[in-house]
């Protein structure tokens, strides 16, 4: 029983490794860049799946959390503290003394001093969790249209802020974000030589997150979340603290989104305002819907396929339009996701011989 649980995950890991192997033998390892990015976007989407599919709460602001994570990390690791150090700023001296600052050099040979990515990452995650917590308390009291509009409003605010705030690089975003050395020899960055390593880093993070979420939805908490989706009033009457459960779920998925934002920013060496755009949030929602809402596997598969195709530029200038069309078609004809259409159900029954 216990080992059986891990078979699907093991297979998933095999598939991910197999894909890398495939790119190697077919000499198409340039795909790895998009595959790595896809893994990070998928991380956001499986987190959102928990909120939408299981707890039944829509969020049209998840790109906002992704951006908060990415931008915080980018700002902290690109903001040059050297002058503050020279001026003897005591806080900077304190950080330097604790070994939390890194020395570097830019293209022109100027010396740089910035916060270590580890500290930046932790601060970004804490900040995102805090914001998600504070915004979640009032927002999650809302339902339906109100919830959708409120989360969308939050997303637009974040977009406007990164677009208008000088420190966020305004329309250009932030570039020259240094790599993130997780441990000696393992660095998240966009170096050509590091491509395979980075693919595996991204896949590992995605896989671990996926397993954690799968565990969660098959636990007491997961059951309670689905109960909230089914009937909030009855869940409440059964002793489920619905407000708290929704809030924790929201914060958890925001943290997943931020984590993806942080890693992708270090991987790409920068981040721009389009990452915070409302279309990104809509796209995440679309993919969860296509995956079947309450289906982690469906969402993961759809997230991987669609993000990869989109990143490969398959949809050209119709990228957003394609997602719009898919969204409408799915919602009209298969609101439970395409993997749960009747054909598949029948196939399943046929297989189990019922």
């Amino acid at each position: 029983m216990k080992t059986q649980r891990f078979i699907p995950f093991f297979l998933l890991a095999l598939v991910l490794a197999g894909l890398q192997f495939l790119t190697q033998i077919t000499d198409t390892s340039y795909y790895l860049t998009q595959m790595t990015m896809t893994a990070y976007y998928s991380l956001v989407i499986i987190g959102l799946c928990l909120v939408m599919g299981y707890a039944g709460q829509i969020s049209l602001g998840h790109a906002g959390f992704f951006a908060i994570g990415g931008y915080t990390s980018a700002v902290l690791t690109t903001y040059n503290l050297i002058h503050l150090l020279e001026k003897g700023n005591s806080f900077v001296l304190f950080l330097a003394g604790k070994g939390l600052l890194v020395n570097g050099e830019n293209l022109y040979g100027e010396s740089l001093l910035y916060v270590t990515p580890w500290l930046a990452c932790i601060l970004a995650l804490v900040l995102t969790a805090l914001i998600a917590f504070l915004i979640g308390i009032p927002v999650l009291k809302l339902k339906g249209h109100y919830l959708a509009m409120a989360t969308m409003g939050f997303g637009i605010i974040i977009y406007r802020v990164v677009l208008a705030w000088e420190i966020m690089g305004e329309a250009d975003g932030i570039s020259d974000v240094p790599g993130f050395t997780l441990m000696p020899g393992i660095t998240v960055n966009g170096d050509f030589s590091n491509r395979i390593q980075n693919y595996y880093i991204a896949c590992t993070i995605l896989l671990v997150a996926f397993i954690l979420l799968q565990n969660l939805i098959h636990s007491r908490v997961g059951r309670a979340l689905r109960a909230i989706h089914g009937s909030e009033e009855a869940a409440d009457a059964m002793g489920v603290n619905t407000a708290r459960y929704k809030l924790y779920t929201f914060v958890l998925s925001a943290v997943f989104a931020a984590l993806a934002g942080i890693f992708l920013t270090h991987y790409n060496g920068g981040i721009g305002p389009s990452e915070a755009g409302i279309m990104k949030s809509v796209r995440y929602v679309a993919i969860v819907a296509i995956g079947g809402m309450a289906s982690m596997w469906g969402t993961l598969i759809m997230a991987s396929v669609l993000n990869f195709l989109s990143l490969r530029g398959l949809f050209g200038s119709y990228d957003d339009a394609v997602f719009g069309v898919i969204l409408i078609i799915i919602m009209l004809f298969a609101p439970d996701g395409i993997l749960r259409l009747h054909i598949w159900q029948r196939f399943k029954k046929f297989k189990t011989g019922k």
Partner: protein, 296 residues
């Protein structure tokens, strides 16, 4: 603040506020007959502007505007007939996602037809610099056009809902769909009609405001969120309150220009939306009891 500056802000506020009010009324008309918030509402405004601009290249202005409104109206009807009419008691989540999808489609289509550029209709009277002296300030005649047309829309709508049998049937439909069906009213047609109506008023607003605010393929989203703010501020479904709420939001925005940088303007109105949602989700003027009966 000089009285001249004060009046200028006031007029700017009323101009924008009237447009917000029209978008909010568009939300309300559809909400009342269907219980749906149509996320593509802002796109009607954009379509009205864009279509009339294109038509005006070979048609006189009044005709171009009339045809643009009619085309948008037909698009509104088609949206309802193709995407919504045949769904049987869809969940709120499903409707949200569908109307969002529709708004994306319209926006992307506009992008491919008209490109990313900013366009505008010419001023209806005079040009950018012509002005009329009102009280102690100078106001562009287009501002008067906007305020006037919006006022006429509001008056005509309320007459329509009060005195025509069609309007009364629509109201019956919104207060109790089942009862309306039993009385022999074809509720489905009423829903189509509500989409046409809100598309038409949105498009008309989009035409008159185009010379001032310009039109771009993605100008609908911002308007939609502001219109929704206004609709909620006035209490969802309450169109008369939406007018006051629209003017209120427009004026707040206009006067906050001094304090808040332009780039953060949208953030201001959205913050208002969030605060209202958190504190008084039934609106400034609505009653809590009435809101309690509605399914949010």
């Amino acid at each position: 603040m000089t009285s001249e500056l004060f009046l200028q802000y006031l007029f700017a506020g009323i101009t924008y506020g009237s447009i917000y009010a029209i978008v909010a009324i568009g939300f309300n008309i559809i909400y009342n007959t269907t219980g749906i918030i149509n996320f593509a509402q802002g796109e009607f405004v954009m379509l009205g502007g864009m279509l009339s601009i294109s038509l005006h290249t070979f048609l006189p202005l009044p005709l171009a505007i009339a045809i643009a409104v009619i085309i948008t109206m037909i698009i509104g009807a088609l949206i309802e007939i193709i995407f919504i009419r045949w769904l049987e008691s869809p969940s709120v989540l499903r409707m949200i996602i569908i109307t969002i999808g529709i708004s994306i489609l319209i926006r992307e289509a506009a992008l491919h037809v008209w490109g990313e550029g900013v366009r505008s209709l010419p001023y209806f009277n005079g040009n950018e610099i012509s002005s009329i002296r009102i009280l102690s300030t100078n106001v562009s005649p287009q501002v008067l056009w906007v305020i006037g047309v919006c006022a006429v829309i509001v008056v005509l709508l309320s007459l329509f809902f009060k005195f025509t049998s069609l309007g009364q049937e629509m109201r019956a439909c919104s207060s109790n769909r089942l009862a309306a069906t039993l009385c022999g009213i074809n509720t489905k047609n009423m829903v189509t009609l509500s989409f046409m109506l809100s598309a038409a008023i949105g498009a008309l607003a989009g035409c008159v405001v185009s010379p001032i605010t310009y039109t771009q393929y993605d100008s609908g989203t911002g308007l939609a969120i502001k219109g929704f703010t206004v609709a909620v501020l006035g209490g969802l479904g309450n169109s008369m309150a939406a007018v006051s709420a629209g003017l209120l939001l427009g004026i707040i925005e206009a006067f906050s220009i001094d304090i808040v940088p332009l780039a953060f303007q949208d953030a201001i109105s959205i913050s208002i939306l969030l605060i209202i949602l958190f504190v008084r989700p039934h609106g400034l003027f609505g009653s809590k009891e009435a809101a309690g009966l509605k399914e949010f």
